[in-house]
């Protein structure tokens, strides 16, 4: 079974600075998807960024980018130029490629605080 570990329960960053959230995972599969979801307080989880394991290039979405290290099974999220609206719980998640049930395996989450 796959596991996802987020070792930082809480992180804080100054507005306009850069922060990196860590995620490691364990799997015996060679192909899979990795995701970062963001959950603002009392709001729904929204997808921030995703990475297909077969792609060597790190995914980027505006101020959000990942550092995907397949051999190390590491998938960190970098937020550049942090904004107050980035404050949220961030979840790292894994999904196998096979199967149609789209079952996600999540980490415990990292609570990000952005200080003005």
């Amino acid at each position: 079974a796959q596991t996802v570990t987020q070792s930082q329960p809480e992180m804080s960053v100054q507005e306009a600075e850069t922060v990196t959230l860590s995620c490691t995972y364990d799997t015996s599969e060679s192909d899979y998807y990795l995701f970062w979801y963001k959950q603002p307080p009392s709001r729904q989880m929204i997808l921030v960024i995703r990475q297909e394991a077969y792609k060597q290039q790190n995914a980027t979405e505006n101020r959000f980018s990942v550092n995907f290290q397949k051999a190390a099974k590491s998938f960190s999220l970098k937020i550049s130029d942090s904004q107050l609206g980035d404050a949220a719980m961030y979840f790292c998640a894994y999904r196998s490629v096979g199967g149609s049930n789209y079952k996600l395996t999540f980490g415990k989450g990292t609570l990000l605080t952005v200080n003005p």
């Binding site: 729904q44 989880m45 929204i46 997808l47 995703r50 979840f91 049930n101 789209y102 999540f106 415990k108």
Partner: protein, 113 residues
């Protein structure tokens, strides 16, 4: 932008009571899911639902749990006789056929006393 809507946002119930959590998935989505997160723990998969039947369920999803799509728009999670350990945030999600992204609701917090 279309949203997955969940009600209630918070429910408090007594142990042994039945609870129904409701979800309105995005209208053209065909696959539906329930996840839960016990406070301080990971978000866990409970069940997936497609074509009016359960397609996969976790070991958490025992006989006390059931899901239903009663009217073509709502997707409900019923807990027949709640236990203290059922206290958690329950997330509904949906996706369309071929989509690689789940859309989640804001969650329903269940507190069992």
């Amino acid at each position: 932008e279309p949203e997955v809507t969940q009600t209630p946002s918070h429910q408090v119930t007594q142990m042994g009571q039945e609870v129904i959590l409701r979800c309105v998935p995005i209208s053209n989505h065909l696959y539906f899911y329930w996840y839960r997160q016990i406070l301080g723990q990971k978000v866990e998969f409970l069940v997936s639902f497609y074509n009016n039947e359960i397609s996969e369920k976790s070991e958490i999803f025992d006989d006390q749990f059931s899901v239903e799509r009663p009217d073509g728009s709502n997707f409900t999670l019923k807990i027949r006789s709640t236990k203290l350990e059922d206290s958690a945030m329950y997330f509904c999600a949906s996706r369309n056929s071929g989509a690689n992204v789940l859309t989640f609701g804001a969650g329903s917090r269940l507190t069992v006393l």
